[in-house]
Symmetry: C6
Subunit: 273 residues, 6 copies
C-alpha cells in the first residue's frame, strides 16, 4: 500500500523490439539522433509509432523514457515538483528532467493533448540551446549528450483548437509513418499475435478492406494494433470471424448499421466461416 519513492525504475528493454521499417524513417531518425535534433512522429493511431521509437532506442542503445500526454498534464508533470518529506520540501525530477540529465530519449506520446505550458517548456530543449529551464528551482539544466526529444501525434485527429503550435513544430524534424504494406503487416501480425501466416494474411486482408472503404463512416481505420488483437483471440481458440467481430468491428463503431455493413464486408473477405 505504501511505497517509498527512493528507487524509481525506468523503462528498460533487454530484447530488441520487433520493428519492420517501411521507408527511410530509420535513416532520418538516425541522422537527427546523431545531431541531437528533436523528432516529430506523425501517423494514425496504432500504426506503430511507439514500436518505432522503442526499436530506435534499442538500436542506438539509449534509455527510453515514455510519457503519455493528456488534457490535464501540466509542465510540472514533465519537469518535476516539490514534495514534502520529513518537514522539508524536496524536489523530485519529472520524467523529462530525468531524461535531460541522463541523456535518454524522451518520448512524449500524443503531446498535443497536453496543456500548452507542457509544449512551451520543451522549446529551449528543442533548439540550439538544448537546455531545460526549471523555473521552480531557478535553474537551467543542460541536456546530457545523447538526450533526444521525440514527440508524436495523429494529424487526422487534430482540430483547430488542439494542434501543435507552429513555434513548436518548427523546432522538429518531422517523420511521417503510415500502416505498413500487406507483406510487412502480415509478418508483424503473425509475429506479435503468435498465429500462422494464413491467419495473419486473412486478418491483414480484413484490415485493408476496411481501410479502403469509399467514403468510410469510421473516424479511424482498422489499425495494425487491432489486427494483432484479433490474432491474439484466435491464438486463444476463438474463431476467426468472432475474433474480428470483437477486436475490429465492435471496437471501431457503436453504430448498428455500420456494424452490420462491416460484418458483411468481413464475411466477404474471410475464407469460409
Amino acid at each position: 500500500m505504501s511505497t517509498n519513492n527512493h528507487a524509481p525504475t525506468v523503462e528498460t528493454r533487454s530484447t530488441a523490439p520487433f520493428y519492420r521499417p517501411v521507408g527511410d524513417e530509420a535513416e532520418v531518425f538516425r541522422a537527427a539522433a546523431r545531431r541531437g535534433l528533436p523528432v516529430l512522429l506523425k501517423g494514425p493511431t496504432g500504426c506503430g509509432k511507439t514500436r518505432f521509437v522503442e526499436a530506435m532506442a534499442h538500436e542506438l542503445d539509449r534509455e527510453l523514457i515514455t510519457v503519455a500526454g493528456h488534457e490535464d498534464m501540466t509542465s510540472a508533470d514533465l519537469v518535476g515538483r516539490f514534495l514534502l518529506k520529513g518537514g522539508e520540501t524536496v524536489w523530485v525530477d519529472g520524467p523529462l528532467t530525468r531524461a535531460v540529465r541522463s541523456g535518454a530519449i524522451c518520448y512524449l506520446d500524443e503531446i498535443v493533448e497536453a496543456r500548452q505550458d507542457t509544449t512551451v517548456v520543451i522549446h529551449p530543449l528543442a533548439d540550439h540551446r538544448r537546455e531545460l529551464p526549471v523555473d521552480r528551482l531557478g535553474t537551467t539544466v543542460s541536456a546530457a549528450p545523447g538526450f533526444q526529444l521525440v514527440i508524436s501525434y495523429n494529424p487526422g485527429y487534430q482540430s483547430v483548437l488542439k494542434n501543435i503550435k507552429e513555434s513548436t513544430r518548427q523546432r522538429f524534424v518531422a517523420i511521417e509513418l503510415d500502416f505498413p504494406p500487406p507483406d510487412v503487416e502480415t509478418e508483424i501480425v503473425a509475429h506479435e499475435a503468435g498465429v500462422d501466416a494464413a491467419t495473419a494474411r486473412a486478418l491483414v486482408a480484413v484490415g485493408s478492406a476496411i481501410r479502403t472503404i469509399d467514403g468510410s463512416p469510421l473516424r479511424e481505420a482498422s489499425s495494425t494494433r487491432m489486427l494483432i488483437l484479433a490474432g491474439g483471440l484466435v491464438a486463444e481458440g476463438l474463431g476467426l470471424r468472432r475474433a474480428v467481430q470483437s477486436a475490429v468491428v465492435e471496437a471501431l463503431t457503436d453504430d448498428r448499421d455500420v456494424i452490420r455493413a462491416l460484418g458483411e464486408l468481413v464475411d466477404a473477405v474471410l475464407p469460409g466461416p
Copy 2:
C-alpha cells in the same frame, strides 16, 4: 468518526454471483482473460454489465476491484497520491495500481465519464507493454499475471463531446451486451427479486412492451434492473400495478403525458388489477 487507513478492504465475494449468459460473451471474455487482453463492455444501463464482470471474476477466481467513473475523476484517483503522515508524505496506491500489483481484474465502470487523463493513463496497461507509469513516483509498475482491465460504457449515452478516444478503444476487445431474452430475464427477475414466476413473467412483459414502443419518447428503456426493483416491492407486499408505477413508470420519466401513456400501456399488459 476517525478511521485509520491501515487496513483497506477489497471487494470480495464468496458465493457465485447469479448470471445467465445470453450469447458467447463468456467465451470471448475467457479468451481475452487467458491472454490478458483488456475488455470493453458495451450495453444499455441496467442490462447486467456489472453482474457479468462479477460472474467472470468469480469463475476465473480473480479478485475484482471496481471503480465508478465520473466527471471529476482524475488519474490520481486511479493511480494514487501522496498523503501527509507524521510529517512525511507517504504514497498511497489507487485502486488501479493495487489491481496492477496484485493481478486483479480492474473494472472501470462508465469510464467515459472521467476526464481524459484517466483514460490515457491506462494505455500502456492496455497494449503489449502491460505496465502502468506512475509519473509521480518516477516508476513504472509491470502488471502482475492475472491482471486484466475491463471498462464499460453505454453507447446510447455518449455525445460527440464525451466518447471514448479512438486510440483507447483500439486497445480493447469489445463485447456487446443487451437485455436478455424473455425466458432468461424472467428467471433473473424471479431469482433476484424473490417473486414467483408468474409475477416475474408479468414484469418482463411490461418491460418488453415499454422497450418496443414505436418512436419512444424515453431516453432509456425499462431495464432488467428496474424490473427486479419492481419485483422487490411486490415481494414486500405492494400491489403489482403500484410497484410498476414507482419502480418503472415514475423512474423512467417526469413528463405527465408520458406517465399517463405508460400507465395505460402497463394496464393493458398486466393481468387484472
Copy 3:
C-alpha cells in the same frame, strides 16, 4: 470561535414531525424501507418532501442525516476527507459515510444540483451491492442494516443540462408528491403557523387561486411553505392582506405587472380587507 470536531452532533428529533399523508406515499416508502431500496422523491418546491422524510424516519425509528445538494458539492463532501491533525492526516467521515456505517436514513436534498461525481458515488449503494467505495481510503464500506438512501428533486426545475442521470434514476423507487388537497393543506397551515382555521382556509384559497392561473407567468406556484409563512406573519399581528403580500406575492416575483395582477387576484379571494 474555535471548536474541536470531536463530538459531531447529528440531526435528531424527539417529537413526531407533523405530516399528513395524501396518497399511498407512506405505504410505498415503508415497502422500500423494509427491503432497503433507495427512494427518489419528486415534487415541487415547498410541497413537503423534507417533512415527509422526517415523518418516515420518525415512524421507522431511524436516525435521519440530511445533506443539501449544491453546485459545488463534490463527492468528498459526502464521503469524507483527510484533515491534518497534530502532523497526521486523519480521515473524517462525510455525512453519507456516517449514515452508511450507522444504518441511518441519508436524505440528499436536491442532489441534482451537485456535481456528477456525487451522484455516481451513490450507485453501488443504490443497487444490490449496498456498499460505498471510499477510494481515498482504499476501502469499501458495507451499508449497516437500516441504511436507506433518499434523494429528492423538483422535476419542474430541471433543464437538459441538469438532470438526474438515467443510470442513477434506474436504481431508485420513485415517489411523486404534490401539494395536498385543500382540507389537508388547511390543517397543515393552521397547525404550522399557529393560526385559526378561518385564516388558514383563506390562505389556502389564495394559494389555490394562484396555482390555477391559466398560463401563469410564474416559474413556481405558491407553495404550502409560503402559506405557512404568511400565516406566521398573521400570527405575529400583521394584517392578512399585508402578510400575503410579503410572504407570497413579493416572494413569487419581481415583475411589477405580475405583482399588481397577483394583488388583484388576492384582493378578490381574501375576505374583506
Copy 4:
C-alpha cells in the same frame, strides 16, 4: 503586519443609525423578527437597504453581522474553515456560523452574486429547522434565539443566469424598498451630508429629474447615496454644479453624449450656477 486572530471584533454601533421609514417596511420586519422568519430585501442600489437593516438591528438590540456577497464567495466563507495552527487544524467559524451561535442578525448583502452553494447552505436556517449543517465538522448548529437571516438584492440587476433560486426565495418574507419620497429624501440628504435644506432640496430635485427621464439610457438611477455624496462635496466647499457633475453625472455613465445630456438636465434643474 502580522496579526493574531485571537480577538475577532464584530460590527457594533453605539448610536442609532439615521433611518426614515417610507411605508410599513419596519412593521413587517418586526413581525418577521418576532417569529425569527428570514427576510428578503428587494430594492435598487443605494436606496437604503443597508441603513434599514442597521436601524432595525439597533431598534431590536441585536448584534448585526454583515457579509457582502460576490462571485467567488463559497459556503466556506460563510460557514467557516479549518486553519493550520501549531501543527493542528483548528476550525474557525465563518460570519454566518458566528451569527447562528450568538443569536445575531446576519445580513447577506447581494447574496445573489455568490455561488449557489452559499444560498443552499442557508436553506435549513431559513425554514422550520432553524439550523446550520456544518458538513466539515459533521455537526448541525441550532440557531440561538434572536438569530435572524436577512438577504438583499436588486431586482433590476438580475439576469436569467443570476437569480435567487425559487426554492430559496420561498423561504423568505419579502420586503420591497424604493427611493424615499422627496421630503423624506431631502431630510436624509441634509442630515447625512451635513448641508442646509435648500442644498438638499436642490440635490433631490436633480435626483428626481434623472430618475424620471423617459426611456433613460442609464442602467441605474441616481440614488439617494449619490445625492448624499454630492452633498458631501458641497459641504467641503465645492460648487453645487461641480459636485453633481462628479458625484452623480460622471458616476452614472461614461458615455460622452449621455454626460452632455445629463449636464443640460442638471443645469435646468439647479438654481443659478
Copy 5:
C-alpha cells in the same frame, strides 16, 4: 535568492512628482480627501492618472500604496492571507488592509480587470461605514483617519462583460482626466524625457495629429507616455523620426498598412528628416 518578509517596504517618494493640473481635478480630489470620500479616476491609458495620484498624495502628505488590478487578482491579494511560519499560520495583511490601518491612500489601478470579489470587498470602505471586513480573521477593521480609496479605469476599454458594477461606481466621486492641452503636454514631455522644447513640441505635434485622425483604426491614441518614451530615445541620440517609429508608430499597431499610413502622417508633421 531567499528573503525574509520581516521588513516589507512601502512605496515612498521624497521629491514632489511632476504634475501639471489641466482642469479642476485637483480641487475635486482635495474636497473628496478632506471628507475621506473615495475617488474614481476615468481616462485613457497613459494620460497621467498614476502621476496625478502621486502628486495628490505628495501634496496631502499621505503614504501612497498602489496595486495594479488584473484578471486573476482575488480579494485575498488585497486583504491578506494566512502564511505558514514555524508550523503556525500567521496572518499577513494585504496592501489594502495596510492602507486601511495606516491611513494611507490606496490606489487600485485598473481595478475593473480584477475579479468581482475584489470590488465587492471595497464596498464597506467606500460608503459611510469606512470599514474593511476581514472575513478570514472574523474581524472588521475601521479605516484610520486619512485613509482614502482611489480607483482608476479606462472607459474606452471596457466591454459589457468587464465593467465596474453600478453598485460600486455609486460609492465614488468620479473625476475624468484626458490628455493635457499642447502647451502643458510639451512642458511635461520636455521635463520627463529631458529634451529641449523644440523636440518636445515636435513630439506633441505628432501625438496630436495621430489623436485627431478621422475614423482612426487605432484602439488607443498616442499617449503622453509614448511621447515621453520617444523623447527619451532622442535624448539617447536616436533620430527624431526613428524614435517616433519605435516608441509611437510600432507601439500603436502591428498592421502593415496602418504603420505605413502613420509613417506618412509623421513625415508630414515632423520638421525636416
Copy 6:
C-alpha cells in the same frame, strides 16, 4: 533524483552568439538599454528574436534571464512564491525578481501567451517607476541599474482574444524584426548548420520560394530556424531533398495536398536530386 535548490544556476554564455544585424535594430536596442527603457520585439517565429537578445546581452555585458510564456503561467511564476522548508515558509524569487535585483536583462518570450496578471505585474517595471511590487511580501523592489525588460511576440499569431494589452504596449519601445535578406540568411544557415555555402544557398532559395507563395495556405512561413534544421540533417549525411522534406515540408503542414504542392515547388528550386 533529488536536488537542493541552494545553488540555482543562471543562463550564461562565454562566447559571442552569432548574430547578423539587418537594419538599425541594434542601434535602437542600445539607446533603449542606455536609458533602461523596456523593449518589445515583434517578428515571425524563427526569425532570430532570441538570438538578437542573446547578442545584445553579450555586447552589453549583461546577464540574460529568459522565461518562455505559456497559457498557464501566472505572476507567481515570474515574481516568486513561498516554499515550505524545515517547517518554515521561505520565499524564493522568481526569474523576473532575480533579474530586477541583479540588474540583468529579463527576456519574456511570447509573453502574450501568459495570463494577464503576468503582464500587469510588469507595468510598474516598464514605466518611470522601475520597480516591482511583490504583493505577497508586502514589498516593492527597485530595479538595479542595468535591469532591462525585453518582451517578444509574433504579430501574425495573435487573435482578438490574445493580444498584448494597449496599456502594456504603450510602455515599450517597439522593434520589428523579419527574416534576413538572402545573403545574410545564407551566411547564418551555413554557420549554424555547418554546411557549405552552396547547400546553404539552396536551402535559402527553398525558404524564399515558400515564403513568397501567392495566397499561401500555410499559417507560418518557412523560417530561418527550419532551414538551419534542414542543413543540420544534410551535415549528418541525409540528401538535400530528404532533409528539406523532413525539416521544412512535413514540419509546415499535415495536409496531403499541400505537402505534394510544396514538394513540387522544392523539386523545382533544388539543384538536381
